[in-house]
Amino acid sequence: MKVLMLSWEYPPRIVGGLARHVYWLSQELGNMGVEVTMVSLDHPSAPMSEVEGRTKIVRSLSYRFPSPDFISWVYQFNYWMLEKILTNLKNDYDIIHVHDWLTAPAGITLKYIFRRPLVVTIHSTEFGRRMGIHNDFQRHIYETEWEEMFEAWKVVVCSEYMKREVISAFDVPLDKLWVIPNGVNPVSLDEKMSLVEARSRFAEPWEHIILYVGRMVFEKGTHIFVEAARQLLSRRWDAKFVLVGEGPLRANLTNIVENLGLSSKFYFTGFLPDEEVKILYNICDIVVFPSLYEPFGIVALEAMSAGKVVVASDTGGLSDVVIQDFNGLRVAPGDPTALQATIDHLLNHPQDRWRMGRNGLNTVYERFSWKSIAKQTIRLYRQILEEYDQGSWKPKPKQIS
């Protein structure tokens, strides 16, 4: 089976979580015998074409002519992708797979040029990201997302929550949707590393570390986390709140903490490299995800893979991932009082932390390993090809000649 996969980011070009997703998915599909050609954009430190594992990577120009805005730039690189594919690759792919709206224009065009089925993975939507559509710029993106889902043979979403979102926002038929979660790589550490020493960099020995990892933006609910921490610290002093990530809310939240006289109980680390985040997952006691909007919540899985108990908002993909009292605890989104009470309960019950942490680890290995995600993706590809072979849209041999 040969798959042509398009993504605007692929390592070393990393913008968000998509680069890691397409990297691990393509590698694991390759391990299972699927020939993936990944078409992405250029990067100063990467060759224009290479083979990594069993994945062939082809990079096209990301910039050539001026662009008046982001959408125009997206269209331009889609066109360079098309030219690259049409001049360098053969028309012998079974499936075209695109991720999000950013490579939809090229994917839809290739679907018709090659007459091959198109698979679209929706990682998030403009409607969800902006909490509605408020201007023509957003509407154009929204219509592009609608178009790619309309043109797709099947649409992949990462959670039941996203399934409901695309049905309500785009009227996608139920039988067109497949839920395949995102995968995660278990957080593993260098065994020689001293966790006690690492821990001393973030907290006193008698303090419990409550960790948040994510962007500091409104939709992640970081402000809710800070308010919950304030409430908890009014009753107990043995907690240290470590917040990893950058974002527009960071300066504001730092000011709030300073004004409350609680600076010694908070540590805003800013952006940290993956290795440092892994250390924090391992030395902390509880990981908190207070999001207000979260299509999937891969960070919750990363925390689980370190064997840590998770406290998460009962929203979006987090509701799918965090099973109440099994691998974590869910609280109502936007409710700092409930959040601090839940953290307090876990701090008082170390056996619950340990039990749910172990269960979380098992959850990651059983449901969210890349092997499992690749298997589900191959099952989807096979079903599509079966339908494609039986349908009338597939070109007859004489039509191809």
């Binding site: 002519f65 049409l86 509407r139």
Partner: protein, 193 residues
Amino acid sequence: MVKVLMLSWEYGGRHVGFHLENLVGRLISKGYDVHTLHLSGDEYKDVRWGGITYTITPNIKTNLHIITSVFSSLGDYARAISSVVYDAGGFDLIHAHGLLVGLHGLMAKLAYGKPLLLTLYSLEEVRRDGTNLISLAIEGFERHLCDLADALVVNDKGLCKRIAEKYEIPWEKIHVLNEWDGIVDVYKEVLKR
């Protein structure tokens, strides 16, 4: 019988659409099989004077400016081109009218290995209102298309001269035709190449 894939933003009426309708009629009368693709409110296939027209309705209705209109219609045109290729037996030559469908023509050329003839009615430097990023992007693609098209057709010598000088296009690649006189010879020459 030579099959021509005719690409245009408009068909019939005035301006480019008027000239194109005139050309299609003449080609059909000379025995050419012409498949014309253009935008319209409704999507349907129509047979007129022996030629076939495919009207294309864009999926995306909200556009910010000409660049988003042009690029977002690539998939819409690909849908109709695919129909000509897989359901109507393909084509021998692509003739694109104006910059708005030039990239669609280039895409068809690269995908199916057929020659592209591009008719330009004006250049962005004449149309634009001051220097702005939209015009600069359009000029970039104008140059790209002039480079990669197999032949260019214009209707006046001044435009021919400007294209040759501005984009460093060989003179012999540009054909100046009055009311499409001699278009068949250009087609024959491009096909021979």
